[in-house]
């Protein structure tokens, strides 16, 4: 198709501002899918995404639309909605020339939107703002339009006011896309350069690369190369997404489509890589590529040791469509055989956890997440560790360095005080504060990554009544006085409860952990001491008093079945506990390390 008739766009929005609904509407309107075929929020295919109100995996769809007598091809590229996936968002935006900015008419521009918007502006995208949800009683479309005008310089009166849900004025969005977003450019005769903006594993076709061709073309199914990994691809087919895969065996500069790469695992192809021809290909890849790097690590164990095999199978399957997930086997004295997992961030970890439980029906235990520390040893060597268990003895360590990140928080200005309080509590330092308008502010600060991976986002949301959002990027390693805090139950250290903490926080966290354990660990037949220790030094202690009696002094008459079932239930409950030093520790104990800050 003539490049002038192609538009490549993304939709960017704060969570719940109606991105998916608008996408659905556009697809219906262009006849891409009929109402009958339309599942609710087609682009968010996984239940989990729907529930969390975010899109985890990007996908793309080609829509055909006639406007003023000409036929246009609009490629809509979906973007994931969370900070953990900012790299994927950036690659998706890189594949576009324009972005539709959806703003909720009742809520106005939200901080989360800003992060994506800035990313879009950085990629030089043309922004098409749209005010959505004008059907809501609380809608203030004119006020919001003025906000948007102030932000983008687009005249307020030119901004479409729509309701994607009730199908009001959505056509105007299509018109603006065609009129405002520039068509793609690119030399169709240059050597092929196609950006991989997403990957997906298809059980029948293997790894599917979603690509935007910037230069050159693919005719048929020639041998291709992924420029970073050097992997040679022998494609099964090449085509476009309608959204079903339609084989064209032809993609040219400016177009968006897919390549069934013939690769067997997602690990063979990275998002952000450039695909070129194996023979006579380009020499320089497109900008923006970064290898995926896990930033957060946690142990994962089956609740029931018998489920180890199932857990391993589930992880293998999960990795098929989650290239960012890495894992290796790990063992714990308390929890038995399990895995150490690496995630892009805490949110990514939550998603993996929920998917394992929901899609694979597994009962699992996650241990406290950790970041990757650099440990400078007395012998001059440097170790990197991502698990408290791996931290060497204090005498062998000269210093420990931990990753810091730049954290940007967008929030209504009335919450500045409480946000700064939170940041300071988590060892953060304010860098600067920028007023976005009279009501909103951007707070930039430096903060140790370890401080934001455990319950920071929830706390931020709670403190700002859900209005603040955040984005972070890894910055540098800094020296830190970190120590390993051990929890001993009945004199036995419980490895899965150890955490690496800053020495200044050790006392407070030790106390909290001990009192949490005291609440959670059921009373046993004997008194159980619970201690927090740094090395050999006990810093906190509490006792779980011995159970005085556990006998059913009740008359059950001849109903022996009931009595037996009561006892069996008690036994079944115990099976889900972990034995350490003759003490049954409920699984909840291992998760409670994640919620230390809650009152």
């Amino acid at each position: 198709m003539n490049l002038d008739h192609i538009r490549n766009i993304s939709i960017i929005a704060h969570i719940d501002h109606g991105k998916s609904t608008l996408a659905d509407r556009l697809m219906q309107m262009t006849g891409t899918v009929t109402a009958r075929e339309m599942k609710e929020q087609l682009l968010d295919s996984m239940d989990l995404e729907r529930e969390k109100g975010v899109t985890i995996k990007a996908s793309a769809v080609r829509m055909i639309y006639r406007y003023e007598g000409k036929e246009y091809e609009i490629n809509l590229i979906d973007t994931p909605g969370h900070v953990d996936f900012s790299y994927e968002v950036n690659r998706a935006l890189q594949a576009c020339e324009g972005a539709v900015l959806v703003v909720d008419a009742s809520q106005g521009i939200q901080a989360q939107t800003m992060a994506h918007l800035f990313a879009a502006l950085e990629q030089d995208l043309t922004i098409v703002p749209v005010i959505n949800k004008i059907d809501l009683p609380a809608a203030m479309p004119d006020d919001v339009a003025e906000e948007v005008e102030e932000l983008l310089g687009v005249p307020a009166e030119d901004i479409p006011r729509i309701s994607a849900k009730t199908d009001v004025n959505v056509e105007a969005v299509l018109h603006q896309i065609i009129e405002q977003v520039p068509p793609p450019t690119g030399d169709v005769n240059a050597p092929l350069r196609a950006l991989v903006f997403d990957c997906l594993y298809d059980p029948y076709k293997g790894v599917i690369a979603y690509v935007r061709v910037f230069e050159g073309k693919i005719e048929g199914t020639p041998r291709l190369t992924a420029m970073t990994t050097g992997k040679v691809l022998e494609p099964l087919e090449v085509g476009v997404l309608t959204p079903a895969m339609l084989v064209t065996n032809s993609l040219a500069a400016g177009e968006v489509g897919y390549i069934a790469t013939g690769l067997k695992t997602l690990q063979d192809l990275d998002v952000g890589d450039t695909i070129t021809l194996a023979e006579g290909g380009a020499t320089e890849r497109l900008p923006g590529y970064q290898p995926l790097k896990p930033m957060v690590f946690a142990g994962l164990y089956p609740s029931d040791a018998d489920d180890y095999g199932e857990l391993r199978d589930a992880l293998e399957k999960l990795q098929l469509n989650d290239a960012a997930l890495v894992y290796e086997p790990e063992t714990s004295q308390a929890l038995g055989f399990g895995f150490r997992l690496g995630f892009l961030g805490l949110f990514h970890m939550e998603i993996v956890q929920e998917r394992l439980e929901r899609e694979y029906d597994l009962d699992i235990i996650f241990t406290a997440p950790s970041v990757e520390y650099r440990v400078n040893m007395t012998d001059g060597s440097v170790m990197t560790i991502d698990s408290p268990a791996a931290l060497p003895e204090p005498t062998k360590i000269t210093s420990v360095e931990e990753p810091w990140c730049e954290l940007r928080i967008f929030s209504p200005s009335e919450h500045i005080g409480t946000i700064m309080d939170l940041v300071t509590k988590r060892r953060g330092e304010l860098k600067n504060q920028t007023w976005l308008d009279t009501k909103r502010v951007e707070i930039a600060c430096m903060i140790p990554l370890s401080e934001i991976i455990v319950d920071f986002y929830n706390e931020l949301k709670a403190r700002t009544r859900g209005y603040a959002s955040m984005d972070y990027t890894l910055d540098e390693y800094r020296a830190a006085d970190m120590v390993k805090l051990d929890i001993l139950v009945n004199q036995q250290p419980v490895d899965a409860l150890s955490i690496i903490v800053h020495r200044d926080d050790a006392y407070h966290k030790g106390q909290r952990l001990v009192s949490k354990m005291k609440e959670i660990i059921p009373r046993q037949m004997f008194t159980v001491p619970i201690q927090a220790a740094i090395g050999n030094k006990i810093i906190s202690r509490a006792n779980v008093q011995a159970m005085r009696k556990d006998v059913l002094a009740k008359c059950y008459g001849g109903d022996i079945t009931r009595k037996r079932k009561l006892l069996e239930k008690q036994t079944a409950g115990k099976k889900r506990m972990k034995m350490v030093g003759q003490v049954e520790i409920p699984q909840e104990a291992f998760m409670s390390v994640l919620r230390l800050e809650e009152e």
Binding site: V551, G558, T571
Partner: protein
């Protein structure tokens, strides 16, 4: 069903009277208030059910009869006579058969007890629950403290020489002094038997709802433990033998209290339960247990229970339909677990090795080697050539001890089709 044919084996008969003048808020038994219209038809149905069971049990002698509820004494004298006549018509009672009636101090007088005596009833179980007026109010009892004294006196006057008193301890905020006062008053009456149960908050009771909504505090488990231990001391000092978790009885005049394994006044009917022996339950919601031998000669239990709602029970009996609505087959291994679970409640007697061997045709020591070894190492049980029984500590941790003998996972017993027999 084939029962194990041995004329000397104990065999209990339980008859359930599902009526009360008022339903107590803690009670989750199958009993109802305000069903006066149904008394007659229910008694007819009980009699008919007994008649129907007769043919299947042959002439197996009944060694104990227990009429419980509910409040059997809410029935009229004529109804009680009809009931006992049916017992004699349908079953042969062994010589010296224990016949117990439960009674509520608020529903009895000298005449009622006289009637029971004339019907051959030789044991009474009176539901006193407390001697503290405010506790009786909390427990929703229809009687007051004076009623208890009147009832006990009437029972003695009527000639009852084997009387049990039921009490409940561990009420929310109950203090040691109150419980000791209740115990003191109970002991002063000199009953032959005392059943002392701790208050359990059972689902689907008003008490459960009160606790759930914060109207009442939950009973304090630690306090209940303290009260229980104090009770054990006090009753021992008063010469009662603690023979089951919740039951104490006087030894016979020739029994030395310290060495006795089973006091003379122990409730023989309840011993049938704890020794994992057989019994037939008659009436709505009543439970039964009969045993057969499988191909290898091992004991397999069949447990079942009757339909609970009274009108439905009556209708089924009237229309000669099966009244069971739950039945399970307990296989050999689980049945052995039940023998341990139940027998370890018998404080002195415990589980006798010989009895176990006779019942299950295998050696307890072989089947439960690991459990017995661990429990002994933890000081929960003591064993000798004749028996296994709990220590004081094991008694207090009875649930944990018993649970060890049950299979690891809650086994699904073979649910039998209801009504099949």
């Amino acid at each position: 069903m084939d029962s194990i044919p041995s004329p000397v084996d104990p065999f209990g008969l339980y008859i359930h009277i599902p009526f009360c003048e008022r339903k107590c808020p803690y009670c989750d038994f199958n009993t109802y208030a305000g069903l006066g219209d149904l008394f007659e038809r229910t008694v007819d149905a009980l009699c008919a059910e007994m008649a129907g069971r007769r043919s299947r049990l042959g002439d197996r002698p009944v060694t104990s009869v227990f009429v419980g509820g509910g409040t059997p004494t809410v029935l009229a004298d004529a109804q009680l006579e009809q009931l006992m006549a049916a017992v004699h018509a349908s079953f042969s009672l062994a010589a010296g058969c224990e016949i117990t009636f439960e009674a509520n101090p608020g529903t009895v007088d000298r005449d009622k007890f006289g009637c029971l005596r004339s019907l051959g009833v030789n044991r009474l179980s009176i539901g006193v629950q407390s001697f503290q007026p405010e506790e009786l109010r909390f427990l929703g009892r229809i009687h007051d403290v004076e009623d208890v004294y009147r009832a006990f006196d009437a029972a003695r006057t009527a000639g009852f020489g084997n009387i049990n008193l039921d009490f409940i301890f561990g009420l929310p905020h109950q203090e040691m002094a109150q419980w000791q006062d209740t115990l003191g008053r109970a002991l002063a009456l000199g009953p032959e038997h005392l059943s002392l149960y701790s208050l359990i908050v059972e689902p689907n009771t008003p008490l459960y709802h009160w606790v759930a909504t914060g109207k009442t505090d939950a009973p304090d488990e630690d306090m209940a433990g303290e009260l229980y231990e104090a009770t054990i001391e006090r009753l021992a000092a008063a010469g009662y033998v603690h023979y089951e978790v919740s039951n104490w009885a006087k030894p016979g005049s020739t029994q030395p209290p310290d060495a006795v394994l089973m006091p003379e006044y122990a409730c023989r009917h309840n011993l049938v339960y704890w020794r994992n022996q057989e019994y037939l339950g008659i009436g709505p919601g009543a439970h039964s247990h009969l045993r057969r031998r499988d191909e290898q000669g091992r004991a397999v239990s069949r447990r079942w229970s009757n339909h609970k709602p009274v009108p439905g029970y009556v209708r089924r009996v009237q229309q000669a339909e099966p009244v069971e609505d739950f039945a399970e087959e307990v296989g050999p291994r689980l049945s052995m677990g039940e023998t341990m679970m139940l027998g370890l409640r018998l404080v002195r007697e415990g589980v006798e090795r010989e009895r176990f061997q006779a019942l299950h045709r295998c050696d307890m020591e072989e089947v439960f080697a690991a459990q017995l070894r661990d429990l002994q190492a933890w000081g929960m049980i003591e064993t000798d050539a004749a028996r296994v029984r709990t220590t004081r500590r094991g008694l207090l941790m009875g649930n944990q001890t018993a649970a060890l003998f049950l299979p690891d996972e809650a086994v699904e017993t073979d649910a039998l089709e209801a009504g099949q027999h």
